[in-house]
Amino acid sequence: MSDETGHSDAGATRRRALMLGAAGAAAVVSIRPALAQTAGSVMTCEIPVPDPSRAGGYIDANGNVVPAGTKNAFAPPLRPLKGEDVRRAMAGGGNLPGVDYERSRAYLKYVGRLQRGTTGFTCFASLQMLRK
């Protein structure tokens, strides 16, 4: 599991320094389970907006994914939505934390239209099944 250790030649060390320097982007992604219950709590499930296969798209007022910059559409949230926040917002009609009213409505509409198999759908489905 380990590669050549620290006392390699100068070339290898410089290479590693370059790799570190080439940072700026994330180097670590932690796997979050798609199905809320398998993490033991709905709070830990997340819904990326939009689905990674449509990353970069904006969300219009009806929850559709539209090209970035489309008029009257909203830039997506920087972080995936937390299951617990979505549930609370849908149940109580409040906003998603830190998001204004219209933008929240748009994001929640997007979530409501998720299709099975889309990243985040199983999180949403388990939230849906939680509503009486």
């Binding site: 380990s2 620290g6 100068a10 320094a17 940072a23 180097a27 670590v28 932690s30 796997i31």
Partner: protein, 87 residues
């Protein structure tokens, strides 16, 4: 104030599997899987089971004084992910 030091799990606390340019890391203590890119495995190895200062890590990676930024970024990321302890 004492300098921050970092420690990664001991070698047998991690399972590592290279999958093309992504490396899957299973952290036994937490049961969490992380996907990482180079040079994270080398960083984890350098701190495996031992407290290392920023200084000594920078030296191990042949970084000049002005190149610390990226290293700190990586370490912060690893601490946030729970793979590395900071003290």
């Amino acid at each position: 104030m004492a300098e921050t030091r970092y420690r990664a799990p001991a070698r047998d606390g991690l399972r590592i599997a290279a999958l093309d340019d992504l490396i899957a890391v299973y952290h036994r203590a937490s049961g969490i899987t992380h996907l990482v890119v180079a040079p994270v495995p080398e960083l984890l190895e350098a701190m495996a089971g031992e407290w290392r200062s920023l200084e000594s890590l920078a030296e191990a990676f042949g970084l000049a004084a002005g190149e610390r930024g990226a290293l700190i970024e990586r370490l912060d990321e690893l601490v946030a992910a729970g793979l590395v302890e900071a003290a």
